[in-house]
Each structure stands twice: as structure tokens, then as C-alpha cells.
């Protein structure tokens, strides 16, 4: 569906995307994970055939966006980061008018609009003004709009950024259904839980480059340990974090490691409970401990030395 080789994007002197290779196969859900400024959105705009490629090769649905932009855009759905809904039009008209841009016949389009509004649970709101919708509803309407041409490939740029937890779960549920229907989904996110929930495969991007690639489970296996023990010490001991790290370095075993963050220590180890136990036995008394499974956040921290969400 998407094939990129040495893909670059520059804006003047600034290189947003610095040579990435990506293959997305039909029917999979593929994610670009990375912090703000990693080059995810620039990549997505090139894939959406609205931003020219600076260097490298890009094929979408087997077509070159430089020469077949309109043909590509006719077959994909795009859900941009900011909702570009038309505030002058009501909910139904936003869908209907957008469908007309694809040249869909009026009768057929009316049926599709009804189906899509039901799908995103906005049937009751069909005549509401867009301005009166909640953030989650607007995002769902944008997704419905991106589906109006029955796209083979759906691009979602930060689909749940700025939404409350409940609205996110509703959205994830809809996207999961689309995936089950066989729609190829490509999304960007800086939420690791979102990537874990939705993506079969993903790449981790940092500063315009791909730093890792694989399924969420595989990435965690390759770049992190099974478990993580988080140790929080009182504020008076924050300055001693480095010292404490040295004292517990051997607790985590050969495969593990210790990460020092401003507010806590992370012990990467196969057995978190045992590590906490061992720390206690050395006379250290963290004010709070938490043992959890490794997540993509840990993978990102490992690969870049930085947190995803600052």
C-alpha cells in the first residue's frame, strides 16, 4: 500500500524527515510513534499526496504522488490533526459536500452519509452545527468524512490528541472495527497506549529518522525487559538519584539496566518484585514502588534517552 525508500522532507534548511524506509501492507494497522517534531506529520502529508517529496522514492497504492496526486487522493481517506471541518455547514452537509468532491453521485452519497453517521454514532446530530459538537464528536465526524469515498487506505494524524479518556476509547473502538473490515490504517501518535492498542506494526521515529521497527510486543522484547520497577524517593533524596542508581545497579541482573529520571528511578528487570525486594534489603526506602510490564514508552526511552510526552 505504501512503499518509501530513503524518503526525505526539507523545509528550507530544516530537515523534517531524514531518509526513512517504510513498507505498509494491505490490511494492516501501521503506526508512526514518536514525540512532537519527530517528522510524523511531515511523513503523513507526503503519503497523503499533498506535500511534495524532497528526495527519495515514494509509492502509494503503487502510484507516484508527484504525477498521480489526484488519483491517489481519490482512493485514500485522510483524518488530519486539526479538524478541518466546515463550521458554516451542519454535520450532514460536512459529510455530503466532502463526498461531492470525490464525484460521488447524489443518491449513492445520501445513503453513504446515513451509514457513516450511524457508524460514528452521530445519527442524532445530523442537523447540528459543527461548533456545538464536543471534541470527540468532531473527531468522529472527521473520521466519517475520511471514509466517505470508501478508501483503501486510511491515514490518521494524531487521532486522539486532545480528547478525554472516554472519547478516546469510543474512537479506538470505531477504528478497531474498521481494521476488522479490512481497511488498511496508518496512524501517527505520541501515545504508546494508542500504538499498543491499534497497531500491528509500527516504527519509532525520532528527529526525522526511524530508530526501531516491529510489532509492539517485538519492540518491547527487543529493546526492553519484561518488567519495570519504578522507585520514587522523597524530594530530599532526588539529588541522590545517581548515587542510588549505582547502589542498585547489580539488582537488575545482566540483561537489565537502571534509568534515572528527575522524579523516579526505573529498574528494567525480568522480575520486578524481586528487584524491589532486593532494593529494600539494601536499606533503601523508596516512598512508593510500582511494578509493571514494559511498554513502548520504555522502548522509546531506551532508544532515544528521552520520554515521549514531556
Amino acid at each position: 500500500m505504501i512503499s518509501a525508500r530513503g524518503l526525505h522532507k526539507s523545509f528550507g534548511d530544516f530537515e523534517a524527515v531524514r531518509g526513512i524506509d517504510v513498507e505498509v501492507r494491505r490490511g494492516e494497522a501501521f503506526g508512526f510513534l514518536g514525540p512532537n517534531g519527530a517528522g510524523k506529520s511531515s511523513t503523513m502529508r507526503m503519503v497523503a499526496a499533498v506535500s511534495p517529496v524532497s528526495a527519495g522514492e515514494l509509492r502509494i497504492l503503487g502510484l507516484d504522488p508527484a504525477t498521480h496526486g489526484p488519483d491517489i487522493r481519490a482512493r485514500i481517506g485522510v483524518c488530519p490533526q486539526d479538524d478541518t471541518l466546515d463550521l458554516e455547514l451542519n454535520v450532514l452537509d460536512n459529510l455530503y459536500i466532502y463526498g461531492r468532491y470525490f464525484g460521488i453521485g447524489r443518491k449513492e452519497l445520501r445513503e453513504r452519509c446515513d451509514q457513516l453517521l450511524d457508524f460514528v454514532q452521530l445519527g442524532e446530530k445530523r442537523h447540528a452545527k459543527v461548533d456545538d459538537l464536543s471534541g470527540g464528536m468532531k473527531r468522529r465526524l472527521t473520521i466519517a468524512r475520511s471514509l466517505v469515498n470508501r478508501p483503501e487506505l486510511l491515514l490518521l494524524d494524531e487521532p486522539t490528541t486532545g480528547l478525554d479518556p472516554q472519547a478516546r476509547h469510543v474512537l479506538w473502538d470505531r477504528l478497531f472495527r474498521l481494521k476488522q473490515q479490512g481497511v488498511t490504517i496508518v496512524l501517527t501518535t505520541h501515545y504508546m497506549d494508542e500504538a499498543e492498542q491499534l497497531c500491528d506494526r509500527l516504527v519509532v521515529m525520532d528527529a526525522g529518522r526511524i530508530v526501531a521497527e516491529g510489532s509492539p510486543a517485538q519492540l518491547i522484547r527487543d529493546h526492553s525487559t519484561r518488567e519495570v520497577a519504578e522507585l520514587r524517593f522523597g524530594p530530599e533524596q532526588h539529588d541522590d538519584h545517581e548515587q542510588i542508581a549505582v547502589r542498585v545497579a547489580d539488582v537488575v541482573g545482566d540483561a537489565g539496566r537502571v534509568e534515572v529520571l528527575p522524579d523516579r528511578l526505573l529498574l528494567y528487570t525480568a522480575d520486578g518484585e524481586a528487584a524491589v525486594q532486593a532494593v529494600m534489603e539494601r536499606g533503601l526506602h523508596p516512598v512508593a514502588t510500582l511494578v509493571r510490564r514494559s511498554s513502548l514508552e520504555d522502548v522509546f526511552l531506551r532508544l532515544t534517552g528521552r520520554s515521549l510526552v514531556d
Binding site: 523545509f11 497523503a48 499533498v50 506535500s51 511534495p52 496526486g69 489526484p70 488519483d71 487522493r73 481519490a74 485522510v78 488530519p80 486539526d82 478541518t84 471541518l85 466546515d86 463550521l87 458554516e88 455547514l89 452537509d93 455530503y96 459536500i97 466532502y98 461531492r100 468532491y101 470525490f102 464525484g103 469515498n149
Partner: protein, 260 residues
């Protein structure tokens, strides 16, 4: 872009937008010409005792000023439709981004919006002329019809350059400049209200650069039935060239904004 235009796919969008606004415009499109023709044409015109030889063939001031007002109104409608609306489509509402995420290209978007504005101008001109007709302005019915049709050309000559300007600028404050230093002098000094000869030789030559002057002259010829083939062709060519050059600039400016 090599494909044929997809601009007709935007027809439903602009019809929907028009349906939302037409009620607000319908009253003003009847009342405005009436106010103009009564105040300037009849009442002010009552004081104007100009030599008919200097009124481009009009026999009274109201006959002289009415076609001028028509062309000026066409210009004003274009400015009102293609300034903040274009800027807002890029910066505030991002409607153009949504449009060009589909098979539509930048050229389709420009063509459709300019087409919409031309239709609005034609409709406004039709109403304007229907209001003016009882005042005996037009030499013939045919002249009135041609005067309306000419407004499409006047509108085109302004629409595409104004579109280009609105897509080009990086801050909306530039519009204040456009209105005060662009539209207002054009409105006042393009021969709509007095013959440009009154400006003196140097300034009157400058006035002939004004697209509105060409539009006013053309509209007046149609309205009074005083056609002269040579000058008429020159006016048409001038306005058409502006329209085409403006179109190329508008597509370029909007592409620069949307495709990066």
C-alpha cells in the same frame, strides 16, 4: 495539472454557502442601487449642469453615473467576497486544506470560487439593472442585458488578482491597506462619478490604468448604446488579460500556502 477541471464538484458547496446567506443579501441588493441612483443620480445630479458633450454621450447626469455605479458595485462585491473569505480559508477555517485532501487540486478550488463570485456579481448586476430600468437609464433592453453581461468581465478582472493578493499576504492587516489605498481610490477616480478628463492630462492618463475605468467605459457604452469598436475591444482585452494573469498568480499563491 493535466486532468480536466474538477471545479464543478464544488458547486454543491458554494450553493450550500449561498443558500445560507442569500436572504441577508437579497434586501441590500435591491435597496443599495435604489439609494445610489436616488441620492447620486437624481438628487445630486439635479445640481450637475454638465455639458452633455463631456458626459460620454449621456444626456443627463443620472444616465452618466448609473452605469458607473453598476461597474463600481461589481468591483465592491468582488472585494467583499474574495478578501477575508480567502484568507480565512487558509488561516482560520482551513477549508482549502479539506478540499485539496481530495482529488480536487488548487486550480479547481480557485476556479470554483471565482466562478461563484462571478455568478454572484451577475445576479447582483441583474437586480441592479432591474431597479435602474424604471429611471430610463438604458437606451435599449438589449443594452441593459449587455451591461449585465459586461459585469462578468469586470468581476473576473478583479476577482483573480484580489484572490491572489488574499492568498499571498501573511497578515490580515494588509486588507485595510488594500481597501483604503486600492479599492477606495479606484472607486472614486475611475470615471464612475465624473469623466476622468476632469483630473487633468497627467492624472487622467493614470486613471486609464484602472481596471474599473475600463469596466465603467464598457458598461456605459452598453447602457447608452454608444459603442465604438476600437476602444471597446481594448477594454475587453485589458480586463481579460488582468483576469488571466490574476488567475495564474492566484493559483501560484494558493499552491504556495497549501502545498509545502
Amino acid at each position: 495539472m493535466s486532468h480536466s477541471t474538477l471545479a464543478p464538484r464544488l458547486a454543491d458547496y458554494w450553493l450550500t454557502i449561498y443558500r445560507r446567506t442569500w436572504k441577508g443579501t437579497v434586501v441590500s441588493s435591491f435597496v443599495t442601487p435604489l439609494l445610489y441612483v436616488v441620492s447620486l443620480g437624481v438628487l445630486l445630479g439635479g445640481f450637475v449642469e454638465a455639458d452633455p458633450a463631456r458626459l460620454d454621450g449621456a444626456t443627463s447626469y443620472v444616465d452618466f453615473v448609473a452605469p458607473g455605479m453598476l461597474a463600481a458595485a461589481s468591483m465592491q462585491l468582488v472585494f467583499s467576497q474574495l478578501t477575508y473569505n480567502v484568507f480565512g480559508g487558509i488561516r482560520w477555517h482551513k477549508t482549502y486544506y479539506a478540499m485539496t485532501a481530495t482529488p480536487l487540486g488548487v486550480a479547481d478550488v480557485v476556479q470554483a470560487q471565482v466562478g461563484y463570485v462571478l455568478a454572484r456579481v451577475l445576479l447582483g448586476a441583474l437586480v441592479f439593472c432591474l431597479v435602474l430600468a424604471p429611471f430610463g437609464i438604458f437606451a435599449s433592453v438589449g443594452g441593459g442585458v449587455v451591461a449585465v453581461a459586461v459585469q462578468a468581465l469586470v468581476a473576473l478582472a478583479f476577482a483573480t488578482p484580489v484572490f491572489a493578493f488574499s492568498a499571498w499576504i501573511s497578515h490580515e492587516s494588509a486588507f485595510a491597506l488594500l481597501f483604503r489605498l486600492g479599492m477606495l481610490p479606484l472607486f472614486l477616480f475611475s470615471g464612475a462619478f465624473f469623466p476622468v478628463d476632469n483630473l487633468g492630462p497627467a492624472l487622467s492618463r493614470l486613471a486609464t490604468v484602472s481596471p474599473l475605468w475600463h469596466g465603467v467605459e464598457l458598461t456605459r457604452m452598453a447602457s447608452l448604446g454608444t459603442w465604438q469598436a476600437g476602444p471597446a475591444l481594448l477594454h475587453v482585452a485589458y480586463l481579460a488579460v488582468l483576469g488571466v494573469v490574476g488567475y495564474l498568480l492566484a493559483v501560484r499563491a494558493l499552491t504556495r500556502r497549501l502545498v509545502s
